[in-house]
């Protein structure tokens, strides 16, 4: 005998809000930060690494995951919810390959994930997923793409965006400082954005870079540290020249 759940949990409030969805967005806001930056030929996903417990194997706590050979996803929010959604996306990617003998496009998989998230806001007995996702990949023409989904099921393409803790600050930084970059400069921009609120160093930052030839590559701690040092040096130099110039102007 199958139990049927016909009582909805996500219902409208008198003034038109879906509070469960809004509470889910709160859960997302409590999750660790994830930043996505799209360049001319490169896409970068940068995430804030939660301090791993001493005895925990850090390699098993991954916030950047592969959906298929050519598509990657980072999330902010409830890790367990993300695992379920990522599994569904992986199945959809393979099912698409089987049905159409082609690899799925980034916007198709984004629409699918967003569709699943929306279904859980309009079904009986379930709650919305407590995650927002950043989905990256390349379209058949070779142009890089970055999409974002959230618990309400909306999805849109972005040049650069952030989700999770302090994402508003990071997004404001990106709006002020975004320029079209390529290669290493795109990674630098992502790290600069992360460093606005995250402690510098490979202990707290994880970076994954995707480009057309090499696909996705997660940077080693050494590479991250090296680039973080470069970014900090540039920042210090910029501060120094600003201070130096003001000093000179002040001198009579």
């Amino acid at each position: 005998m199958s139990a049927r759940y016909d009582r909805a949990i996500t219902v409208f409030s008198p003034d038109g809000h879906l509070f469960q969805v809004e509470y889910a967005l709160e859960a997302v806001r409590k999750g660790t930060l994830a930043v996505g930056v799209r360049g001319k030929d490169t896409i970068v996903l940068g995430v804030e690494k939660k301090a791993a417990a001493k005895l925990q194997d850090a390699r098993t706590v991954r916030k950047i995951v592969k959906i298929d050979e050519h598509i990657c996803l980072a999330f902010a929010g409830l890790t367990a919810d993300a695992r379920v959604l990522v599994n569904r996306a992986r199945m959809e990617a393979q099912s698409y390959r089987l049905t159409l003998d082609e690899q799925v496009s980034v916007d198709h998989i984004t629409k699918y994930i967003a569709g699943v998230q929306q279904k859980y806001t309009q079904s009986g007995g379930v709650r919305p997923f407590g995650i927002s996702t950043l989905i990256v990949g390349f379209d058949p023409a070779g142009a890089p793409q970055l999409y974002q989904t959230d618990p309400s099921g909306i999805h849109s393409a972005w040049k650069a965006t952030a989700i999770g803790r302090n994402s508003k600050t990071i997004r404001e930084f990106l709006e002020k400082n975004y320029i079209e970059t390529s290669g290493k400069d795109t990674v630098k921009l992502a790290i600069k954005a992360l460093l606005e609120t995250v402690e510098a160093g490979s202990k707290s930052i994880e970076v994954a870079v995707m480009d057309k030839e090499h696909g996705l590559r997660v940077w080693t701690d050494e590479e991250v540290d090296a680039l973080v040092k470069e970014v900090e040096a540039e920042k210090a130099a910029a501060e120094a020249s600003k201070r130096g110039g003001a000093g000179q102007a002040g001198a009579v």
Partner: protein, 273 residues
Amino acid sequence: MQLSWDLPVSASGGPIRNYDRLPLSSELAGGPQGFALPDVKELDAFERQVVEMVKPAHGTTTLGFIFQGGVIIAVDSRATMGSYISSQTVKKVIEINPYLLGTMAGGAADCSFWERNLGMQCRLYELNNGKRITVRGASKLLANTMFSYRGMGLSMGTMVAGWDHTGPGLYYVDSDGQRTKGERFSVGSGSLYAYGIMDQGYKWDMPVEEAVELGRRAIYHATFRDCASGGTVSVYHVTEKGWTKISGDDVTELHFKYYPQPESHPAYATPVL
């Protein structure tokens, strides 16, 4: 569930007359996925007989090939019911959409219905994904459908031809679920004759007019030798701008055009000495 084996009961409630075998779950009243099975001793042999009965003759010649200038599709237009020619004016190229063509060989209804159904799936793909479907994807959708009806008597041997962002595409898809990518195909009872002409005259670098003429000549020769092929030869050309119908010629007129002197025809027989 209590059952008396003296009188097994079928799904419709009447007795199952074949006492040689135990009743199947689908025959018992209230079977979850039940449908009435035929009341015969050997089910598999019976199904094979049915499929043979339903399967119409593949009387046709169709061909397609890719060359430097795109894809050429050429077909005849005869339909036969046994030895009766039921039509000389059948449209054997189905225009799925402005850049995709499907050919018809086998059951006319199966071909035209499922290729129109494919057209619907392609259109839905365009609307849902904001871009045209590839020839690869379209042929796979058709092959999936054919596979899901495998063994149920569908009869279709088609070529899906078109142009997408990867260039020209040609796939052979049939009702057994086979899907093969290729550069040269001919399908139908006259295909062997068409292959003879097509393979002998094919050059990747040939200009468009020569390719069109090759397709036309190959179909003509197939209609000459194969009794189940005839009528008119239709030739289509597919480029990145889509497909265009190049010509439709009556095979009898082609016969006299190619061989105005009877002696010049390859099938001309010298009198018995």
